[in-house]
């Protein structure tokens, strides 16, 4: 007789595509044995059951302690596409947890996943890139991706992959290039990113601009950005309708015009009016980046002259609720008022 009390257990799982789970602590070891079984059906059913279990952080911890990652690594190169797809899905859900991420980095799953970049099945590739994306958000993960020499293949894939996967690749690249940028520059990343800046999708544009931001935070990146004449392209993105794109492009400009060549090319491309319009908006997220960019431009004599007229705009932002914007506004005013 059904009672209105909701039980503490999940409803009984009678999915025939999933393997039966043993009770309690025996569940995961039995699944591990089933994963190594020679029959295809057993492996598939075990993987399906594992996918559901891995949403629980405690199960992730137990799985990694039991050495699941080694059996999963061998399954990554299986011929059957369902097996591969489910394995990558399991790994990507594991990567959502902090313990899972650490375990994945430690057991060298990144190098095992490099072979899947050219997989014919879309979902496998998407899951692989999701794993890279999650792992790259950690500093050790970004280091691992760089050490596995993944940057040149990723830059190449940026041209040919589907849009969703491109977004994931761009996120991965932005996190990895924060650490080191020479490999990407050697692989011609800037040219590819220049194309992506004019992509119809707003997400790709903003992510590409974010990658350029990370590239130009390094010295050699700045030189490359100036050489490839990306500053006019970034300036045109400042007038984009999407706020995300504006934020990213303002940030990229902020870093790129630290060098004198960048500054002069920005002044030559009339950077000040769009930046001022960004600053003037009250709710724009790009305010901080725009104020910083204008500070940089104010160090040039022409810039200072132009910005002296707009000094009161900066005065307004001294009372901004965000502390960072206040500080930036103070610094900007100090730079504008500086006399040699």
């Amino acid at each position: 007789m059904a009672t209105p009390r909701i039980s503490a257990y999940l409803p009984p799982d009678v999915d025939p595509t999933k393997a039966a789970l043993a009770f309690g602590r025996r569940a995961l070891p039995k699944l591990n044995e089933e994963l190594q079984a020679p029959e295809l059906l057993t492996q598939q059913r075990a993987l399906m059951a594992l996918c559901d279990l891995v949403h629980d952080p405690e199960k992730v911890y137990q799985a990694i302690a039991l050495g699941f990652l080694d059996s999963l690594k061998t399954l990554l190169v299986h011929q059957d596409q369902t097996v591969r797809q489910k394995t990558t899905e399991v790994l990507s859900v594991m990567a959502l947890h902090s313990i899972g991420r650490e375990g994945l980095i430690r057991s060298g799953v990144i190098s095992a996943l490099t072979g899947l970049l050219d997989d014919p099945v879309d979902i496998c590739r998407k899951n692989t890139h999701q794993i890279f994306d999650m792992l790259a958000k950690l500093p050790e993960g970004a280091g691992g991706v760089l050490r596995a020499g993944l940057i040149p293949p990723l830059v190449l894939k940026l041209r040919t992959e589907l849009e969703e996967i491109q977004e994931l690749i761009l996120e991965t690249l932005s996190n990895c290039l924060r650490v080191e940028v020479s490999e990407a520059l050697a692989a011609g990343a800037i040219t590819v990113l220049k194309e992506k800046l004019s992509h119809p999708s707003a997400a790709i544009r903003s992510k590409a601009a974010w990658v350029l931001l990370e590239i130009s935070s390094h010295a050699e990146g700045k030189i490359a950005v100036c050489k490839e004449e990306l500053i006019p392209a970034l300036l045109s993105l400042l007038e984009d309708t999407e706020p995300e794109v504006q934020v990213s492009s303002a940030g990229a400009l902020m870093f790129a015009i630290v060098t004198p060549q960048g500054r002069s090319s920005a002044m030559g491309a009339e950077a000040i009016p769009p930046l001022l319009s960004l600053v003037a908006e009250e709710t724009s997220k790009a305010r901080l980046n725009a104020i910083k960019t204008l500070t940089l431009l104010a160090e040039l004599p022409e810039g200072r002259q132009a910005l002296l007229d707009h000094r009161d705009t900066f005065q307004r932002w001294l009372d901004d609720p965000s502390e960072a914007v206040q500080r930036a506004a103070e610094i900007a005013i100090a730079v504008i008022d500086w006399k040699p």
Partner: protein, 380 residues
């Protein structure tokens, strides 16, 4: 009979037992006696026997007469009692047999025969009547299909009809089921949504942090750049200043050196001219001409003349010598006396000297000087 032994070993009156030994649980008896030694040596765990199968335990009706078990060394009292009991039993049996008599002996001429007196006579023999019988099954036939089993109708037929709303109210009853179903679904959905939300929250947090970090980083780079420019500017100016100082010093040195050199070389030209003049670079051309051409020619002519003179003198010398030698030969052939030779030689010498002096008068003054110098040379 209650066996009573040494009264001092009996239990005191307050305890319920009054037997010889206190009750104790018995250990199991080993099956083979040889093992007892081994058991003593090992001192293994004590196994208590199962009293149900232990032969030493008395079982059965507690109210019946029971003889105690024969001990190995019965005492004399025990033996006597046993024999007495046996005799009494035997006597009792005999008396009972005598009371019940058997059938009397047959009368003479008659024989007793055993006859059956039941209703049906039966043959009594030791041998049992046996009959052999056999049977054989038929060849296998297929099992016929089971006929449809329709149980016999039992009981009475009764019909009933359930109107709507009589058994249960669907809407009320289905509520808890629906609640469970919907609740579970929504719970699962909420879990998934929470997971995604958690992640989205984390990423937005990270993004905000990344923005702040980027802003600060840009500021840092700007200040670095500024600092670099200022330092470069300072360095350039310093180098310029050093260059200026260096040039100044160089110029001062140049001036000093020039002044010194000028003063040093002020009297250079007069001294140079003096030296040249002294060494004869400024010459009078006529004088030079006379010196270079005329005088050498003169000297050579003089030399020629002198050589002629010398030649002449040599000729003369040779002539004189020849003459003298001839004279010597002439005078040496017949050597008249030594005195004539000596005065011949002296006049010869004086004659040579006078010839020579005659010759000398014809020469010039310088030639005489030269001859005089020649003579001492000859004499020497």
């Amino acid at each position: 009979m209650v066996p009573t032994r040494a009264p001092e070993l009996t239990a005191p009156a307050d305890l319920p037992y009054s037997f010889y030994s206190q009750p104790r649980s018995l250990g199991s008896r080993p099956k083979y006696r040889e093992q007892s030694n081994a058991a003593e040596k090992e001192k293994g765990p004590v196994h208590y026997c199962n009293i149900m199968i232990d032969p030493r335990v008395v079982r059965g009706n507690v109210l019946s007469v029971r003889h105690p078990p024969q001990s190995t060394e019965p005492s004399t009292l025990e033996v006597k009692r046993q024999r007495r009991a046996q005799k009494q039993g035997l006597a009792r049996r005999l008396t009972q047999e005598q009371i019940r008599t058997g059938t009397p002996e047959p009368v003479e001429g008659r024989e007793h025969v055993y006859v059956q007196t039941e209703l049906y006579l039966e043959e009594i023999s030791d041998r049992v009547i046996e009959v052999d019988g056999e049977c054989q099954t038929d060849e296998f036939l297929d099992r016929p299909p089971t006929p449809l089993f329709i149980p016999a109708k039992t009981g009475k037929d009764v019909a009933t009809q359930i109107e709507e709303g009589e058994l249960f109210d669907f809407d009320i009853e289905v509520k808890p089921i629906l609640e469970v179903l919907v609740g579970k679904t929504v719970e699962q959905a909420l879990l998934e949504v929470m997971e995604e939300e958690e992640l989205a929250q984390l990423w937005s947090h990270q993004r905000a942090f990344a923005e702040l970090r980027n802003a600060e980083f840009a500021e840092l780079q700007r200040l670095e750049e500024q600092d670099r420019r200022i330092r470069e500017e300072k360095e350039r100016r310093r180098l310029e200043h050093l260059e200026k100082l260096r040039k100044q010093k160089e110029t001062a040195e140049k001036i000093a050196a020039r002044a010194f050199a000028q003063r040093y070389l002020a009297d250079l030209i007069p001294s140079v001219f003096n030296n040249l003049h002294e060494s004869g670079f400024f010459y009078d051309p006529i004088e030079r001409d006379i010196e270079t051409e005329f005088l050498p020619w003169l000297m050579s002519e003089v030399e020629e003349t002198l050589q002629k003179k010398v030649l002449g003198r040599m000729m003369l010398d040779s002539l004189i010598r020849m003459v003298v030698e001839k004279r010597l030969d002439e005078f040496s052939r017949p050597p008249p006396s030594d005195q004539t030779e000596v005065p011949a030689e002296e006049p010869r010498e004086t004659g040579a000297a006078s010839l020579v002096s005659d010759e000398a008068d014809a020469a010039d003054q310088p030639v005489e000087e030269k001859e005089e110098t020649d003579q001492p040379v000859d004499e020497d």
